[in-house]
């Protein structure tokens, strides 16, 4: 059985950027800041492409929700090997109130509409750090979930997933269709080559609205404020190991 895969990708502030809180405490400064694909989403795309290369997956649909710029993120997924893209367009203003629950409703609706049997996502976005969307999507579809996956194997109608848990690893078996969220160790994402980037420009990208999918974006969790975390007081440099141990003794740590 060849699988049809839906991969969710999110556009976030690049992981290496030091973020700044807006002076009015309403959020983070995003204008003019480098954005890229969420690192965990890259891993999800890579896994889907590898499954396609193994002829387990027949088609990969990359989807992203958000403003116009998300199309760049979808293009990146297409350049990595996804077959076509769906941009669920949400205006920048409306997007501010969109959270994992709203995105999972969109993904669940698309999974049904596109008749996919595998949804691949990253385990968390590095901006909101929620770690919810995959689990919620699985719940809405009533599909099993393989979260924090570091290994995925398709065996007939079943999926064997090795998961990263607190004490080590665990292996579970899921009935397809299923939702999988990628951990860092799942794979090493490839770089899109220039020819592939050029080819990706010709790949199909469809734009839909959440309302087309029957999804209401109302979020009942509101941001009250966003603030800088407390700053640590600058410390001291010590010259020798003896000094270090003396300081730690003084402060009662050893």
């Amino acid at each position: 059985m060849a699988l049809r895969a839906l991969v969710g990708v999110k556009r976030v502030i690049d992981y290496a950027v030091k973020v700044r809180v807006k002076p009015d405490k309403t959020g983070i400064v995003t204008d003019g800041v480098k954005h890229s694909m969420n690192p965990f989403c890259e891993i999800a795309v890579e896994e889907a492409v590898r499954l396609k290369e193994k002829k387990i997956v027949s088609e990969i649909i990359a989807v992203s929700c958000g403003p116009q710029q998300c199309q760049e993120t979808i293009r990146t997924a297409l350049a990595m090997g996804a077959d076509r893209g769906i941009h669920v367009e949400v205006s920048a203003k409306d997007y501010e109130s969109v959270g994992p629950f709203q995105v999972s409703k969109i993904l669940a609706a698309l999974a049904k509409k596109e008749n996919v049997n595998l949804v691949l996502l990253g385990k968390q976005a590095i901006d909101d750090d929620c770690n919810q969307t995959g689990q919620m999507t699985a719940a809405l579809l009533d599909w099993p979930q393989g979260t924090f996956a570091s290994e995925v194997k398709v065996e007939g109608e079943k999926l064997t997933v090795v998961r990263e848990i607190d004490g080590g690893l665990e292996t579970i078996s899921l009935k397809l269709p299923a939702v999988v969220t990628a951990d860092l160790r799942l794979n090493e994402p490839r770089y899109a080559t220039l020819p592939n980037i050029m080819k990706a420009k010709k790949k199909k990208m469809e734009t839909v609205k959440p309302s087309d999918l029957g999804v209401d974006l109302t979020n009942r969790i509101h941001i009250v404020s966003v603030e800088d975390p407390p700053q640590r007081q600058s410390g001291v440099k010590v010259e020798t190991v003896e000094d270090l141990i003396a300081k730690l003794k003084e402060s009662g740590h050893i």
Partner: protein
């Protein structure tokens, strides 16, 4: 008229009681309660109301005994069934929904561990509510504080969902006391088996050292250790300090140590009394996992390493000399 009024009053009082009922999903390994559950209970107590706990598993006897004594827990719901082997969310979710249907909790929470993160969003979506992850502070029953952008911003959110579903950062709440409690215990019949998933096996990293997320002292190594064998230097030092050993992503990716040792945004969050970072540069993603430690020590040969900006005590030195030296001095005491 009077009757209507009194009914209204009665309803009002019961709504008030309803405002104050929290279900904590207990995490355990059938032998022992996971420490993060005790933090979740403390967080639940902060909400100001009745706190109940749900214990599900193939064997709940020991954990139920432990939980019954935990201060602040008034009721225990116990569901023992073979279906809960491996604590699969596909099986636990219907059970929690069943409990919710019967008791109409206003809050459902668990520790923000791999278990809680896996389970609670599934429960929330089934309840048709958005949920709040990794809460570090509770301002009021509907207002929570959490970190975003790898701990580089604090976000206060107001949750207007009828049921608040959230996970709790263990290091942000004291553990509830394990004695003095007297919870009543009720058995819950498990709902039908979902059968969507199956737990096959686990391979846990065995260690005599304290558990990473609850250790008082943590010694962590990074790329600077150069290889897995050299981590022995850190194990020796950790032994002298009764410390847990952690690692940066670089050390995990390079295969020096298993990934359950990773401290950071995508690994574990720790906040020990003392955190000793050895050969770790201090990338944003690593700092996210340890910058709430009470005292931070950095040992690094690069004086420009960002880790020195958060370290209380910094030693610019070659770790291969400094760490064994430290171990020797500590041995002599």
């Amino acid at each position: 008229m009077y009757r209507t009024l009194s009914t209204g009053k009665h309803r009002g009082a019961s709504t008030l009681r309803r405002l104050l009922s929290t279900l904590v999903i207990a995490e355990h390994d059938t032998q022992q309660l996971t420490p993060v559950t005790l933090s979740a209970i403390s967080a639940a107590k902060r909400l100001g109301g009745d706190v109940s706990c749900l214990v599900a598993g193939t064997d709940c006897t020991k954990v139920t005994e432990q939980l019954a004594k935990v201060q602040g827990v008034s009721k225990l719901f116990v569901a023992q069934d073979e279906a809960y082997k491996g604590f699969l969310p596909e099986e636990l979710t219907p059970l929690i929904l069943e409990a919710q249907k019967r008791f109409s909790f206003t809050h459902i929470c668990a520790g923000a561990s791999a278990f809680g993160k896996n389970l609670l969003p599934r429960v929330a979506a089934k309840l048709d509510v958005a949920s709040v992850s990794d809460v570090i502070d509770i301002k009021s029953p509907d207002t929570f504080v959490r970190t975003i952008y790898a701990g580089n911003a604090l976000c206060t959110v107001k949750c207007e969902e009828p049921i608040k579903v959230f996970t709790v950062r263990g290091t942000s709440f004291e553990a509830a006391q394990c004695s003095g409690g007297s919870a009543t215990c009720e058995t819950v019949a498990p709902p039908a088996v979902a059968g969507l998933s199956e737990w096959l096996q686990q391979s846990l990293t065995k260690s005599d050292r304290p558990e990473l997320t609850s250790a008082k002292v943590v010694v962590s190594g990074g790329r600077g250790l150069k290889n897995g064998e050299n981590f022995k230097l850190l194990y020796d030092l950790a032994d002298q300090l009764n410390a847990a050993v952690g690692a940066s992503r670089a050390a995990v990716d390079a295969g020096f140590v298993p990934n359950d040792m990773q401290v950071g945004q995508t690994g574990k969050i720790v906040a020990p009394e003392l955190y000793i970072a050895v050969g770790i540069s201090g990338a944003i993603q690593h700092l996210a996992g340890m910058k709430d430690s009470k005292t931070i020590v950095a040992i690094n040969k690069d004086p420009e390493a960002p880790i020195f900006q958060v370290a209380d005590y910094g030693l610019v030195a070659d770790l291969f000399k400094a760490v064994p030296e430290m171990t020797e001095i500590l041995k002599k005491k």
